[in-house]
């Protein structure tokens, strides 16, 4: 337990370091003069003349060895200073902060919807394996995975916003704005959650304590709620964490279509405008968040694994 916890933390740190090197190296890998790019990021000014540029190169220490510059950059980044955005001329950190909040809200709502639908669906499918119902659930959820978001989202806007007028088409001001993007985002995790719930339930339902509970005269419904669901939960929760990490920053298409000012849209705009500081900060913060969420989920899984717990109780 402790060993794997330490191991996971080491992997987490290594991941973060690798990402920071990649982000630091970004100006050197993109077309254009890296020194110019960095000066532009630090002083939020594009049109510096050659003399000023030379002065700034010395002043900002851009003539030092790359390794020293990297450590300096890393120190600044750790304090949340990623420089100024090329496009908005504002400090990048503030933009990232508000975008992360928006994306986290959207992702949590979408995943909560997916989970609430997936738990009953997966359980029903697992109770009658290989039945018509099981096959139907599998088929429908697999079809959901094949639905492109950039198809569903415009059609949903066409139907619910333009024709029926029930929901706002795009934006992020009132609670109603969450509904459509969250539902569109929920479909794919819904499919995977159902799949994993079904598999976990199948495992659990074959366990001796389920047979014992049934033979004590407990109804199937009571057995499922009192014993099975709780023990089938860990793999589903792990997947929940993976999706949470993936959707914050990963839901680019949905955020662009519904004009949601989240991480995904921020990254997209950073790429389109070649806004290097924004891109650097965005990549570092998304991966940091993803690694943090996944590591926490792994640790929680280790801590609350019912197999470990029952082994200790026995």
């Amino acid at each position: 337990m402790l060993r794997s916890a330490i191991r996971r933390c080491v992997v987490m740190l290594l991941t973060l370091l690798t990402v920071s090197v990649l982000a630091f190296a970004l100006p050197y890998m993109t077309p254009g003069d890296p020194v110019r790019s960095i000066i532009r990021a630090r002083v939020a000014d594009f049109a510096v003349d050659p003399q000023t540029a030379a002065d700034l190169t010395v002043k900002l220490g851009l003539d030092r060895p790359l390794a020293v510059q990297y450590l300096d950059w890393l120190g600044q980044a750790a304090r949340g200073n990623f420089g100024f955005s090329y496009t908005s001329k504002l400090p990048v950190a503030g933009q990232i902060g508000s975008a992360l909040r928006v994306s986290a809200t959207l992702a949590l709502v979408a995943l909560a919807v997916a989970l609430l639908a997936a738990l009953p669906l997966g359980t029903i499918a697992a109770l009658r394996p290989a039945s018509m119902l099981d096959n139907a659930v599998t088929f429908v959820t697999q079809s959901l995975v094949a639905v492109p978001e950039y198809w569903l989202a415009p059609l949903a806007i066409l139907l619910f916003a333009l024709h029926l007028g029930w929901l706002p088409s795009a934006g992020w001001r009132e609670p109603a704005h969450v509904v459509m993007p969250a539902l569109v985002l929920a479909l794919r995790p819904l499919a995977y959650f159902t799949r994993v719930t079904r598999a976990a339930m199948l495992d659990v339902l074959n366990a001796p304590y389920i047979t014992a509970a049934r033979s004590r005269g407990l109804s199937m419904a009571r057995t499922v709620f009192a014993h099975a669901l709780r023990n089938a939960a860990p793999p589903v929760m792990t997947l929940f964490a993976v999706w949470l990490a993936g959707l914050i920053g990963g839901s680019v298409v949905v955020e662009v279509i519904f004009a949601v000012p989240g991480m995904g849209r921020l990254l997209y705009e950073a790429v389109v405008n070649s806004d290097l500081p924004l891109l650097q900060a965005g990549i570092v913060s998304i991966v940091a968040l993803a690694v943090l969420i996944n590591t926490l989920a792994d640790l929680a899984y280790l801590a609350f694994n019912p197999v470990l717990r029952s082994a200790r109780d026995a």
């Binding site: 991941t15 993109t30 492109p148 978001e149 950039y150 415009p154 680019v252 298409v253 997209y268 991966v287």
Partner: protein, 310 residues
Amino acid sequence: MPDTALPLTPETGTAATLPARRSPGARLLAALAAQHWWFLVGLALFLAIALALLLTPWIAPFDPAAQNLRLRIAPPGAEHWLGTDHLGRDVLSRMLHGGQFSVSIALLTLALSASIGTLLGALSARIGGLFDEFVMRTVDLLLSFPEVVVALFLIAILGPGYTTLVLALTVVGWTPFARMSRGLTLDVNRRDFIAAAEVLGCRRRFIVLRHVIPNVLRPIAAITFLRFGHKLITVGALSFLGLGVQPPDSDWAAMLADARPYMERQPLLAILPGLAIFVTALSVTMIGQGLEIGVDRRRRLHPATREPAA
């Protein structure tokens, strides 16, 4: 454990698995008949789509780039079967040409991801030690990046285009295959029939070819088919955002993006390309799902793989 309850006598193979001396056609038919109906429906759908895309140069009625500004956003009719878009271009021809980009990028990245991942995973399991540690930590690292973010990062460096797309989706894409192939290889190496074959004095190469590879490939094939839809949709997402296939070329998702401003006037312009992505992704998913059910069923019926008569 259900395994121990089995009779210890070697099972007799079913007709489909016996190396009978029948014509290849008959054997193919027998193998197909043994599959789940999802597999067959998916295969038929996908073959139809693939055939249409391969024959595009001959069956596309118009030049996909030819504009006819006097006939913009025309409804489906006798001349333009699926109508025309906002520049008066024939939608059917554009669908066929666009599909070539969408499907070929998805297939290419999938083939690269699956072969690199399977190979590295199997090597990782066989070599073990530091190599194993290095490969698996790399997998962990890459899996913590959202796929689209990696793609955006690479596009920022290399600029958008066909090669960037393939590269971006392969860089992340191989990881699930590596993880799976490593696990499967380790698992197969532990099974009794490997030990039995070793005791019988089978050569190492024979064991790998006859036992390890077939047992690893079947589940990997199933997962490969299940990943195709994901690839097709991710490729499309980047094209939809204008960061994938660049004009004058366009794929299904780029057509969809073009159609959005005219969606209210002619919803079909947005519905058709999306439907094409959906049906193509679904057909391959059905192939994979059918295969997976087949793998499960075979495992239930024959949990111990039949030993060779040697």
